[in-house]
Chain length 336, copies 2
C-alpha cells in the first residue's frame, strides 16, 4: 500500500508557506505482528503543530527535516495483525499528515461511530476538548458568578472553555475575530457576551463585557488580546496558558518598551496565578472524568461544537497556515 505523505521540507521563518512542506508518495513497509494498516480518513490540524516546526527546545521534540508532519488522525483499519482490531474498524491514531499508515495496535484507540461522529475524537471529545476541560477546571477553577474569558472562542478549545465555564455557574465572555464568529459565540455556544478583537474599540468592548473584571483568563492566543485582557484581571485571577497562537510566527522579540517587569508587578500586586500546561499532564488525574462529563454534556446538548472540514490532504499546508491567522471557523479537520 502506498501513502501520500506531507513532510517537513524546511523550518519556516515566520509564517509557514509553500516551501515549508513537500509531498512524497511512499510504499508502506510490510505489516508486522501487533500492527494494523490504516487508511487515514481525517487529519486534525492544531496550533501546537507550529511549535513542532521549530528547532527550539520545548516539551516535545521538533519534527525532523524530511519526516512526515505529525498530527492526530482518524483512520480505518484495512488490514490487521493485532488481536481486537479488524478491517473496517475506525480508530484514533497519531499517524500525521499522510493518507495511509502502519500503527501499533496497542497505540490506537478504537472509536464507536454510533456514539458520536468520529471526527469529534479529534475535537470536543479529543485532545482540544480535554485541554479545555483540564486547564479550566484544574488551573482556572472557575467559581459560581466569576467571569471567565477565552479567546479563539469559536475554536475547539475556546468554545469548550466557555461552555464548561457556564456549566460551572460562571459568566463566559468569548473573544473572536470578525462579526460572524462573534455572533456565533452568543447564538450557537451560549456565551454571555462576545467581543471582536479585530474591532478598533476592542479594549473598550472588552471592558464593557467584563464589568466585574476577569477572574479566569484561559490563554490560548497571546498578542494584543492578552495585552487588553490583562488590564482587566481581578485580584487572585487565574490564567491557564495553553497556547499563544498570535506569537508562534514571531521572528523577533516585539519592540519595546519591555513590559515584562510591569507584568510581574501585576502578578505580585494582584496575586495572580499564571500556569502553563500541556493537557497530557492531566490525563491520569482527569481523563476518566472528562470522558464521562463531556460525553454527557454533548448528549444533553449543553456542549456544542463546530467543525471546519477541508477536503483533500493536499490542502493541509494552506489550511494550517490559515488557522494560525485565525481563518478557520470551528475545529479544523482535513478530510483526507
Amino acid at each position: 500500500m502506498d501513502s501520500t505523505q506531507i513532510c517537513l521540507a524546511q523550518r519556516p521563518v515566520g509564517e509557514p508557506d509553500a516551501s515549508t512542506f513537500t509531498t512524497h508518495i511512499q510504499p508502506l513497509p510490510d505489516l508486522q505482528d501487533g500492527q494494523v494498516a490504516l487508511a487515514i480518513r481525517y487529519l486534525s490540524l492544531d496550533p501546537y503543530m507550529r511549535g513542532r516546526l521549530s528547532a527550539a527546545k520545548s516539551y516535545a521534540d521538533p519534527v525532523e527535516i524530511g519526516a512526515v508532519m505529525v498530527g492526530g488522525t482518524v483512520g480505518e483499519v484495512v488490514e490487521s495483525r493485532f488481536e481486537g482490531l479488524a478491517p473496517g474498524d475506525v480508530v484514533l491514531s497519531y499517524s500525521g499528515w499522510q493518507s495511509a499508515a502502519i500503527a501499533e495496535g496497542s497505540q490506537v484507540r478504537k472509536l464507536d461511530p454510533s456514539l458520536a461522529p468520529v471526527t469529534t475524537a479529534l475535537g470536543v471529545l479529543g485532545m482540544p476538548g480535554f485541554t479545555a476541560y483540564a486547564g479550566l477546571l484544574e488551573i482556572g477553577r472557575p467559581q459560581e458568578g466569576e467571569t471567565v474569558v477565552v479567546a479563539a472562542a469559536t475554536g475547539p478549545v475556546g468554545s469548550a472553555v466557555g461552555q464548561i465555564a457556564r456549566i460551572k455557574g460562571a459568566r463566559a465572555v468569548g473573544i473572536a475575530g470578525g462579526p460572524d464568529k462573534v455572533r456565533a459565540l452568543t447564538e450557537q455556544f451560549g456565551f454571555d457576551a462576545a467581543v471582536d478583537h479585530r474591532a478598533p474599540d476592542f479594549v473598550d468592548q472588552l471592558k464593557a463585557a467584563t464589568p466585574d473584571g476577569i477572574d479566569v483568563y484561559f490563554e490560548n492566543v497571546g498578542g494584543h488580546v492578552f495585552d487588553g485582557v490583562r488590564r482587566q484581571l481581578n485580584n487572585r485571577a487565574r490564567m491557564p496558558v495553553c497556547g499563544l497562537v498570535a506569537n508562534y510566527n514571531l521572528t523577533s522579540q516585539p519592540v519595546g518598551p519591555d513590559q515584562l517587569a510591569g507584568f510581574l508587578g501585576q502578578v505580585l500586586t494582584k496575586s495572580l496565578t499564571v500556569r502553563g500546561f500541556i493537557q497530557d499532564e492531566f490525563t491520569r488525574s482527569h481523563g476518566r472524568d472528562f470522558v464521562r462529563d463531556m460525553g454527557a454534556w454533548l448528549a444533553d446538548g449543553r456542549v456544542r461544537y463546530l467543525e471546519d472540514i477541508v477536503e483533500g490532504l493536499e490542502n493541509a499546508p494552506a489550511a494550517f497556515a490559515g488557522m494560525l491567522r485565525g481563518d478557520n471557523f470551528g475545529k479544523l479537520v482535513i478530510k483526507v
Copy 2:
C-alpha cells in the same frame, strides 16, 4: 505622652530621599478603654513599604500624604486599659514609624522575651519568616533533590527560604550582592552554593551553581537577577512571586525589546507556574504550622538569622532607601 512620628511628605518618583518624609512631634490622644499606650522599641523596615508610598492600586491602600508611615513594631506597654496586658509587657503591633503609639489591645500580640529575642517577631518568627515558609512550601513545593534558588538571600525572607529548602531535602542556591554576603550564604546559612549578582560573570556563576537547572525560583527581586534565573528554569518549575525590589523604584517601563511574549512562551513550553502572593492569604492555612516548625528549627539551630540593627528612628528614611539598594546585611530593624 508625645510621639516622634515620621510621616509621608510626598510620593517619591524613583528612589525615596530626604524629601519623601517629614518628622513631627505629636501628643498622643488620651487612652480609651481597651487600649494600651506603647513605647516603641523596634521598627521593622521591609521592601513592601515602597509599595505603600505609591498611589498605584495594589493589594493594600497607599499611605496618605501627611500620615504616619506604616510598619511592624515591637513596643513596651507603658499604660494599659486592656485586660491581659500590663505595663512592662512587650508586644508586636503595627504602629508604624513613630516612637510611641496608642493601640487597641486586641490588635497586638504579647511576646515572650524568654523564648526568643523580641526582634525575631519582626523577622524570622514574623511576617518575613512566614512569607518564606508559606510561599516556599505552598507554591514552591520543593521536592527532595530539586534545586531552589532565592535572591536577596541574606535577607530575612531569602535566608529562611534557603534554609527551609534544605530542611525539605532540596539543594539551596542563594544570590546576593557582594563577596561578604555571598560568603555568609554558605558559611552562616548553609546554602549549597552562592552567587554574586554584582559580578560581571553572574549568569555564568549561576549556571555553574545550578547544573541540574532550577525547579523553584522564589522571586523577591526581579530585575537582572530574574533575567538570568529564568533561562535556567526547568520544565514544571514553580515561581512564587513575593517581591520585586529591583523594580520598585522604576519610573518608566524598561526599554525594549519587549520580553513579555518571550516569557509567556517560556511559561507555556516549560509548563511553568508563576504565582504572586502576599503572606496573609496563608495565615489561616499555614500560620499554626509555621509557629510550630520555625520555633523548633530555631531552637535546634537548623534555621539561623541575621539582623542589621540601626540605632535611632531618625535614621529610618536613609536605612530604608539603602535597603532598596541592597545595602542592609540581614533583617533591617530600627532600634527606636
